[in-house]
């Protein structure tokens, strides 16, 4: 199968079920909301090393936020509910509460919830104030700037992480331009986020390593510099590979994102669009690349 002269490999992305939360961060302006968002998910690229994966879902207009300020919605994913109970208060506490002018609200309507403001309130050292409005509890935590407003509990739901595309380009410039186009297209899809810097990962990994202490190591089959040394997956003429990793609230959202991302990446200088998998041994969600257009 080809799109615009680019081969769509007959393979699949191997994705995983995870737990997701959606954070709505508001601030006095979009710049401060973005600052808090980046602080919160800046070190949330890979579940392997960060404890969670997260990304900016989209910017929110003032009409879309609870307090009428501009904001940003984030998706954050963990392996287990218990991990979410640790990661959310930690990241909201360090990434949002510390950031000037911000407030943080739950953005996911779910029967399953974890405590966030309910944990962070103790920072108020007894001076915190609870407010219950329309069935939602908020905490007003006094801070040097004034008050930090945070919702008591955040909804969580089962979600999917690990949707991905591998963009195999003739040159680093072509691969990067294609990746940027893919990121731009995917960011228009609802309910997904891209956890890696700029939405692009250059250091894709494989499971395991020749070192016993390392659970994951470089995806040597896609490293152009190792072409003669390993069982390379690179066709002739490919000199650079970039990966787009996608997390989403639903498999359907991941599929939509992969489709529009791949279509956007099919540009001159791209040889093949592929996807990463582990032979179907790890993830339960297998997303065939060519099925995306079926």
């Amino acid at each position: 199968m080809q799109i615009g002269g680019v081969e769509i490999e007959d393979t699949y992305a191997e994705a995983f079920h995870m737990w997701a939360a959606r954070l709505v961060i508001t601030a006095v302006n979009g710049q401060w909301a973005q600052t808090a968002a980046h602080a919160t998910i800046g070190f949330a690229t890979s579940i392997i090393g960060c404890g969670c994966e997260g990304g900016i879902e989209r910017e929110l207009a003032s009409t879309e936020t609870p307090d009428g300020r501009t904001g940003v919605s984030l998706l954050l994913m963990t392996r287990s509910r218990e991990d979410m109970e640790k990661q959310l208060p930690l990241r909201v506490g360090q990434g949002v509460m510390t950031c000037a002018t911000t407030a943080c609200f739950n953005g996911l309507d779910s029967t399953e919830t974890v405590s966030v403001g309910g944990n962070l309130r103790f920072f108020g050292d007894g001076f915190q104030i609870s407010k219950l409005l329309d069935g939602r509890r908020f905490w007003r935590i006094p801070v040097m700037e004034g008050e930090f407003l945070v919702e008591d509990r955040f909804g969580i739901q089962r979600a999917v992480a690990g949707g991905n595309l591998l963009i195999l380009g003739q040159t680093p410039e072509a691969a990067l331009a294609a990746a940027e186009a893919a990121v731009s297209a995917i960011r228009k899809v609802n309910d997904v986020a891209l956890p890696f810097p700029g939405g692009v990962a250059r250091s894709g990994s494989k499971v395991g390593s020749r070192y016993k202490f390392l659970r994951a190591s470089t995806n040597d089959a896609y490293c152009p510099t190792l072409r003669p040394l390993v069982k390379s997956a690179l066709p002739e003429g490919v000199n650079c590979v970039l990966e787009i990793v996608i997390i989403g609230l639903t498999e359907m959202a991941i599929r939509s994102a992969m489709r529009v991302g791949a279509e956007a990446a099919c540009r001159p200088g791209i040889v093949r669009i592929s996807a990463g998998n582990y032979g179907g041994r790890l993830g339960k969600v297998l997303i065939g690349l060519q099925e995306l257009w079926a």
């Binding site: 104030i129 407010k131 219950l132 007003r140 004034g146 008050e147």
Partner: protein
């Protein structure tokens, strides 16, 4: 017909104890059974049908028509459904209610929403004293729900309130939010004298003027724009309360007290300068 209509047969001048007029009691009853519900009229029990013309079988949505100034305890303890009152309502309207909604076109007597724990009470006229407060001897008044008054409220609104939201479009009488334990009281008109006397926690928000200064047992904290007010003011705006853009964008002076008690309550005064 989607609602059960109860039309007062005449001017009810004697006190009527009408705690049987709730959706919980009436929903599902035949029309005859609705008419046979007991009501205390003066000092004698009478069937509801003697005082009200009943239209339709019992539903969860009730419409009451006529001057019900002397009809007490309408909607007392209700947990669901709606009551729409076209006219005045008497004492104890919606007291101890836990769910559902009561709307009143005109004025209501004292103790409306006393010990309310949930639901919504909407009054388009004025409210009498002790709105959403506690009965004598009780430790806690309102523990949940929302009371919205377009007009004014008399003395001691929200006394001993523990949780919930009261918003008064007009002014209040003396001692608004006295002995509040928690919860929120918003006043768009003139905030009555001695606001928050004895309050432990909770928020009194003055969006209009003050009848007199803040009690000396409240201490000035700062001038700021509390984030939580954005949530409350937008909520109240959706319900038609007189929130202005200036309220949303404005600064508020914060006083904390009452230091005679716990001292963790607050009076937020919209700064018009």
């Amino acid at each position: 017909m989607s609602a059960t209509v109860l039309q007062a047969r005449a001017n009810l001048t004697l006190p009527v104890e009408a705690d049987s007029i709730t959706p919980d009691r009436i929903d599902g009853l035949q029309q005859v059974a609705v008419g046979n519900l007991p009501i205390l009229y003066g000092r004698e029990w009478a069937p509801l049908g003697d005082l009200f013309a009943v239209s339709g079988d019992g539903r969860a949505d009730l419409v009451l028509e006529g001057d019900l100034t002397h009809v007490k305890r309408i909607g007392q303890g209700m947990t669901r459904g709606t009551i729409a009152i076209h006219g005045n309502a008497g004492l104890h309207l919606g007291s101890q209610m836990r769910g559902g909604e009561i709307t009143v076109d005109s004025n209501v007597g004292g103790w409306a929403g006393a010990h309310m724990a949930g639901g919504r009470l909407r009054i388009y006229g004025d409210a009498g004293p002790m709105l959403g407060s506690a009965y004598p001897g009780e430790r806690r008044g309102m523990t949940g729900g929302v009371i919205l008054v377009e007009g004014s409220a008399a003395a001691r609104v929200g006394e001993r309130m523990r949780r919930g939201l009261i918003a008064v479009g007009g002014s209040t009488g003396d001692f608004p939010g006295a002995r509040m334990i928690a919860g929120s009281l918003f006043v768009f008109g003139q905030l009555g004298p001695r606001a928050g006397a004895g309050m432990k926690r909770g928020s009194i928000v003055s969006l209009g003027s003050l009848a007199s200064g803040v009690l000396p047992t409240f201490q000035y904290s700062c001038r700021f724009a509390p984030g939580f007010l954005q949530l409350y003011l937008r909520y109240l705006l959706r319900w038609g309360m007189p929130v202005t853009p200036a309220h949303l964008q404005g600064q508020y002076q914060r006083y904390t007290g009452d230091i005679n008690t716990l001292g963790k309550g607050e009076i937020l005064i919209y700064d018009q300068h």
